[in-house]
Protein backbone atom coordinates (compact mmCIF):
# COMPACT_ATOMS: atom_id res chain seq x y z
CA UNK A 1 0.00 0.00 0.00
CA UNK A 2 2.79 2.38 1.02
CA UNK A 3 4.75 1.39 -2.06
CA UNK A 4 1.72 2.15 -4.27
CA UNK A 5 1.39 5.61 -2.68
CA UNK A 6 5.07 6.32 -3.23
CA UNK A 7 4.78 5.22 -6.86
CA UNK A 8 1.82 7.58 -7.45
CA UNK A 9 3.70 10.43 -5.70
CA UNK A 10 6.78 9.76 -7.79
CA UNK A 11 4.84 9.69 -11.06
CA UNK A 12 2.86 12.83 -10.21
CA UNK A 13 5.94 14.69 -8.94
CA UNK A 14 8.10 13.70 -11.90
CA UNK A 15 5.39 14.75 -14.37
CA UNK A 16 4.91 18.04 -12.50
CA UNK A 17 8.65 18.77 -12.52
CA UNK A 18 9.05 17.86 -16.19
CA UNK A 19 6.15 20.03 -17.34
CA UNK A 20 7.38 22.93 -15.13
CA UNK A 21 10.82 22.70 -16.75
CA UNK A 22 9.19 22.78 -20.22
CA UNK A 23 7.05 25.83 -19.35
CA UNK A 24 10.07 27.61 -17.86
CA UNK A 25 12.13 26.88 -20.98
CA UNK A 26 9.36 28.22 -23.26
CA UNK A 27 9.05 31.40 -21.17
CA UNK A 28 12.84 31.95 -21.22
CA UNK A 29 12.87 31.59 -25.02
CA UNK A 30 9.97 34.07 -25.36
CA UNK A 31 11.82 36.57 -23.13
CA UNK A 32 15.05 36.16 -25.10
CA UNK A 33 13.16 36.71 -28.37
CA UNK A 34 11.44 39.81 -26.96
CA UNK A 35 14.79 41.19 -25.79
CA UNK A 36 16.24 40.79 -29.27
CA UNK A 37 13.55 42.99 -30.87
CA UNK A 38 14.89 46.29 -32.26
CA UNK A 39 14.40 49.50 -30.27
CA UNK A 40 11.88 51.85 -31.89
CA UNK A 41 11.36 55.40 -30.65
CA UNK A 42 8.60 57.90 -31.43
CA UNK A 43 8.47 61.59 -30.60
CA UNK A 44 5.31 62.44 -28.68
Amino acid sequence: MKRQENRIAFQGGAYSLAITAVVLAILVVINVLAASLPFVSYEI
Binding site: N6, I8, A9, F10, Q11, G12, G13, A14, S16, L17, I19, T20, V23, L24, L27, I30, N31, A34, A35, L37, S41, I44
Partner: protein
Protein backbone atom coordinates in the same frame (compact mmCIF):
# COMPACT_ATOMS: atom_id res chain seq x y z
CA UNK B 1 -1.33 63.83 -5.91
CA UNK B 2 0.24 65.43 -2.85
CA UNK B 3 3.61 64.78 -4.45
CA UNK B 4 2.53 66.65 -7.59
CA UNK B 5 1.26 69.61 -5.56
CA UNK B 6 4.41 69.79 -3.41
CA UNK B 7 6.83 69.39 -6.32
CA UNK B 8 4.64 71.52 -8.66
CA UNK B 9 4.80 68.96 -11.46
CA UNK B 10 1.91 67.54 -13.44
CA UNK B 11 3.53 64.24 -14.43
CA UNK B 12 1.21 61.56 -13.14
CA UNK B 13 3.66 58.70 -13.76
CA UNK B 14 5.82 59.95 -10.85
CA UNK B 15 2.89 59.30 -8.51
CA UNK B 16 2.70 55.69 -9.62
CA UNK B 17 6.45 55.25 -9.20
CA UNK B 18 6.21 56.82 -5.77
CA UNK B 19 3.39 54.58 -4.55
CA UNK B 20 4.59 51.27 -6.01
CA UNK B 21 5.79 50.37 -2.51
CA UNK B 22 2.13 49.87 -1.51
CA UNK B 23 2.24 46.56 -3.37
CA UNK B 24 4.30 45.21 -0.46
CA UNK B 25 1.19 45.53 1.72
CA UNK B 26 -1.83 45.29 -0.58
CA UNK B 27 -0.84 42.23 -2.63
CA UNK B 28 -0.27 39.87 0.37
CA UNK B 29 -3.47 41.16 2.02
CA UNK B 30 -5.40 40.61 -1.20
CA UNK B 31 -4.03 37.15 -1.91
CA UNK B 32 -3.23 35.61 1.50
CA UNK B 33 -6.49 33.71 1.96
CA UNK B 34 -7.37 32.97 -1.64
CA UNK B 35 -6.24 29.32 -1.46
CA UNK B 36 -4.80 29.04 2.08
CA UNK B 37 -8.25 29.50 3.64
CA UNK B 38 -9.78 26.93 1.28
CA UNK B 39 -7.20 24.42 2.49
CA UNK B 40 -7.70 25.29 6.14
CA UNK B 41 -11.49 24.93 5.99
CA UNK B 42 -11.20 21.86 3.73
CA UNK B 43 -13.41 23.54 1.11
CA UNK B 44 -10.69 22.82 -1.45
CA UNK B 45 -12.15 19.28 -1.52
CA UNK B 46 -15.26 20.86 -3.03
CA UNK B 47 -13.13 22.49 -5.71
CA UNK B 48 -11.58 19.12 -6.58
CA UNK B 49 -15.03 17.56 -6.93
CA UNK B 50 -16.42 20.31 -9.18
CA UNK B 51 -16.67 19.60 -12.91
CA UNK B 52 -13.91 22.15 -13.61
CA UNK B 53 -10.17 21.64 -13.97
CA UNK B 54 -7.61 22.92 -11.45
CA UNK B 55 -6.41 25.38 -14.09
CA UNK B 56 -9.91 26.83 -14.36
CA UNK B 57 -10.13 27.15 -10.57
CA UNK B 58 -6.83 29.05 -10.39
CA UNK B 59 -7.67 31.28 -13.37
CA UNK B 60 -11.10 32.02 -11.89
CA UNK B 61 -9.62 33.03 -8.55
CA UNK B 62 -6.89 35.05 -10.25
CA UNK B 63 -9.36 36.94 -12.47
CA UNK B 64 -11.51 37.73 -9.43
CA UNK B 65 -8.43 39.24 -7.73
CA UNK B 66 -7.58 41.18 -10.88
CA UNK B 67 -11.07 42.72 -10.97
CA UNK B 68 -10.71 43.87 -7.34
CA UNK B 69 -7.30 45.32 -8.19
CA UNK B 70 -8.57 46.97 -11.39
CA UNK B 71 -11.40 48.93 -9.71
CA UNK B 72 -9.16 51.46 -7.85
CA UNK B 73 -6.89 51.65 -10.90
CA UNK B 74 -9.90 52.53 -13.07
CA UNK B 75 -10.63 55.41 -10.69
CA UNK B 76 -6.97 56.47 -10.72
CA UNK B 77 -7.10 56.53 -14.53
CA UNK B 78 -9.23 59.69 -14.32
CA UNK B 79 -6.44 61.60 -12.51
CA UNK B 80 -4.27 62.40 -15.57
CA UNK B 81 -7.35 64.03 -17.13
CA UNK B 82 -7.79 66.14 -14.00
CA UNK B 83 -4.09 67.04 -14.03
CA UNK B 84 -4.40 68.03 -17.70
CA UNK B 85 -6.78 70.80 -16.68
CA UNK B 86 -4.03 72.51 -14.68
CA UNK B 87 -0.85 71.80 -16.65
CA UNK B 88 0.82 69.95 -19.50
CA UNK B 89 0.43 66.22 -18.98
CA UNK B 90 2.02 63.61 -21.24
CA UNK B 91 -1.08 61.47 -21.49
CA UNK B 92 0.60 58.67 -23.46
CA UNK B 93 3.33 58.36 -20.80
CA UNK B 94 0.75 58.56 -18.02
CA UNK B 95 -1.55 55.90 -19.45
CA UNK B 96 1.40 53.74 -20.52
CA UNK B 97 2.61 53.89 -16.91
CA UNK B 98 -0.86 53.06 -15.59
CA UNK B 99 -0.99 50.04 -17.89
CA UNK B 100 2.48 48.94 -16.73
CA UNK B 101 1.42 49.54 -13.10
CA UNK B 102 -1.58 47.28 -13.68
CA UNK B 103 0.44 44.52 -15.33
CA UNK B 104 3.17 44.71 -12.66
CA UNK B 105 0.49 44.40 -9.96
CA UNK B 106 -1.03 41.47 -11.87
CA UNK B 107 2.38 39.76 -11.83
CA UNK B 108 2.75 40.34 -8.09
CA UNK B 109 -0.78 39.01 -7.50
CA UNK B 110 0.18 35.83 -9.39
CA UNK B 111 3.17 35.47 -7.03
CA UNK B 112 0.81 36.01 -4.07
CA UNK B 113 -1.62 33.35 -5.34
CA UNK B 114 1.24 30.85 -5.58
CA UNK B 115 2.45 31.65 -2.05
CA UNK B 116 -1.12 31.25 -0.78
CA UNK B 117 -1.31 27.82 -2.43
CA UNK B 118 1.73 26.60 -0.46
CA UNK B 119 0.24 26.80 3.03
CA UNK B 120 -3.04 26.55 4.93
CA UNK B 121 -2.06 29.39 7.26
CA UNK B 122 -3.08 32.72 5.78
CA UNK B 123 -0.89 34.68 8.23
CA UNK B 124 2.13 32.73 7.08
CA UNK B 125 1.11 33.29 3.44
CA UNK B 126 0.90 37.04 4.08
CA UNK B 127 4.28 37.05 5.87
CA UNK B 128 6.03 35.16 3.08
CA UNK B 129 4.29 37.37 0.51
CA UNK B 130 5.47 40.59 2.20
CA UNK B 131 9.02 39.22 2.47
CA UNK B 132 9.07 38.08 -1.18
CA UNK B 133 7.74 41.38 -2.57
CA UNK B 134 9.95 43.46 -0.27
CA UNK B 135 12.97 41.44 -1.40
CA UNK B 136 11.98 42.01 -5.02
CA UNK B 137 11.46 45.75 -4.37
CA UNK B 138 14.93 46.18 -2.90
CA UNK B 139 16.68 43.56 -5.04
CA UNK B 140 18.44 46.18 -7.17
CA UNK B 141 19.70 48.02 -4.07
CA UNK B 142 20.65 44.74 -2.38
CA UNK B 143 22.57 43.62 -5.46
CA UNK B 144 25.13 46.34 -4.62
CA UNK B 145 25.84 44.62 -1.30
CA UNK B 146 25.96 40.93 -2.27
CA UNK B 147 29.21 39.34 -3.34
CA UNK B 148 30.08 39.98 -6.99
CA UNK B 149 33.04 37.59 -6.92
CA UNK B 150 33.02 34.33 -8.84
CA UNK B 151 33.19 32.32 -5.60
CA UNK B 152 30.20 34.18 -4.11
CA UNK B 153 28.09 33.51 -7.21
CA UNK B 154 29.17 29.85 -7.28
CA UNK B 155 28.17 29.41 -3.62
CA UNK B 156 24.77 31.01 -4.36
CA UNK B 157 24.24 28.57 -7.25
CA UNK B 158 25.22 25.63 -5.01
CA UNK B 159 22.62 26.76 -2.45
CA UNK B 160 20.09 27.04 -5.29
CA UNK B 161 20.96 23.48 -6.41
CA UNK B 162 20.38 22.21 -2.86
CA UNK B 163 16.99 23.97 -2.71
CA UNK B 164 16.05 22.50 -6.09
CA UNK B 165 17.08 19.03 -4.90
CA UNK B 166 14.94 19.44 -1.79
CA UNK B 167 11.98 20.53 -3.96
CA UNK B 168 12.41 17.47 -6.21
CA UNK B 169 12.58 15.28 -3.12
CA UNK B 170 9.48 16.93 -1.66
CA UNK B 171 7.49 16.50 -4.88
CA UNK B 172 8.48 12.97 -5.80
CA UNK B 173 9.00 11.54 -2.28
CA UNK B 174 12.14 9.98 -3.71
CA UNK B 175 15.35 10.65 -1.77
CA UNK B 176 17.62 9.22 -4.46
CA UNK B 177 16.19 11.47 -7.18
CA UNK B 178 16.35 14.60 -4.99
CA UNK B 179 19.93 13.91 -3.92
CA UNK B 180 20.88 12.97 -7.50
CA UNK B 181 19.55 16.24 -8.94
CA UNK B 182 21.42 18.22 -6.25
CA UNK B 183 24.68 16.35 -6.82
CA UNK B 184 24.52 16.67 -10.63
CA UNK B 185 23.80 20.42 -10.44
CA UNK B 186 26.51 21.03 -7.82
CA UNK B 187 29.02 19.07 -9.92
CA UNK B 188 28.04 21.16 -12.98
CA UNK B 189 28.60 24.38 -10.99
CA UNK B 190 31.95 23.17 -9.60
CA UNK B 191 33.23 22.00 -13.01
CA UNK B 192 32.17 25.26 -14.69
CA UNK B 193 33.78 27.20 -11.85
CA UNK B 194 37.08 25.32 -12.20
CA UNK B 195 37.19 25.52 -16.00
CA UNK B 196 35.70 28.98 -16.59
CA UNK B 197 35.47 30.89 -13.31
CA UNK B 198 35.30 34.27 -15.06
CA UNK B 199 31.75 33.45 -16.22
CA UNK B 200 30.65 33.63 -12.56
CA UNK B 201 32.02 37.17 -12.04
CA UNK B 202 29.15 39.46 -11.03
CA UNK B 203 26.57 36.79 -11.84
CA UNK B 204 24.62 37.01 -8.58
CA UNK B 205 24.07 40.82 -8.66
CA UNK B 206 23.14 40.54 -12.35
CA UNK B 207 20.51 37.87 -11.65
CA UNK B 208 19.08 39.96 -8.79
CA UNK B 209 18.80 43.01 -11.07
CA UNK B 210 17.24 41.02 -13.91
CA UNK B 211 14.59 39.43 -11.70
CA UNK B 212 13.38 42.75 -10.26
CA UNK B 213 9.82 43.58 -11.28
CA UNK B 214 9.95 47.11 -9.87
CA UNK B 215 13.10 48.29 -11.66
CA UNK B 216 11.48 47.50 -15.01
CA UNK B 217 8.60 49.79 -14.11
CA UNK B 218 10.98 52.80 -13.89
CA UNK B 219 11.50 52.55 -17.65
CA UNK B 220 7.80 53.28 -18.23
CA UNK B 221 7.96 56.25 -15.85
CA UNK B 222 10.76 57.68 -18.01
CA UNK B 223 8.46 57.65 -21.04
CA UNK B 224 9.58 54.41 -22.70
CA UNK B 225 7.03 51.68 -23.39
CA UNK B 226 9.26 48.68 -22.76
CA UNK B 227 7.86 45.63 -24.53
CA UNK B 228 10.46 43.32 -22.94
CA UNK B 229 9.20 44.37 -19.50
CA UNK B 230 5.62 43.60 -20.54
CA UNK B 231 6.71 40.18 -21.82
CA UNK B 232 8.59 39.62 -18.54
CA UNK B 233 5.52 40.54 -16.48
CA UNK B 234 3.40 38.21 -18.64
CA UNK B 235 5.93 35.42 -18.14
CA UNK B 236 5.85 35.91 -14.35
CA UNK B 237 2.05 35.73 -14.41
CA UNK B 238 2.00 32.54 -16.51
CA UNK B 239 4.79 30.86 -14.53
CA UNK B 240 3.39 31.50 -11.06
CA UNK B 241 -0.18 30.63 -12.05
CA UNK B 242 1.20 27.43 -13.55
CA UNK B 243 3.06 26.71 -10.30
CA UNK B 244 -0.17 27.37 -8.36
CA UNK B 245 -1.96 24.79 -10.52
CA UNK B 246 0.87 22.31 -9.88
CA UNK B 247 0.69 23.07 -6.16
CA UNK B 248 -3.03 22.18 -6.11
CA UNK B 249 -2.45 19.14 -8.32
CA UNK B 250 0.18 17.92 -5.85
CA UNK B 251 -2.54 17.43 -3.24
CA UNK B 252 -4.27 15.05 -5.61
CA UNK B 253 -1.36 12.63 -5.94
CA UNK B 254 0.07 13.11 -2.42
Amino acid sequence: MLYNIQAAVSNFEFVLNFCSLVFVVIVPILTMRVIAEERKQRTDQLLYSLPVTTTQVIIGKYLALLVIYAIPLAIISIYPMIFAQFGDVYLLTSYGSILAFFVMGAALIAVGVFISSLTDNQGLAAGIGIAAILLNYYSVSLSEYVSATALGSAIALVVLALILGYTVNHLTKNDALGSGVSIVLILAVVITYVLHSSSFEGLLPKIMKQLSLFSRFNVFVNGVFDLTAMVYYGSVIVFFLFLSVQSLEKRRYN
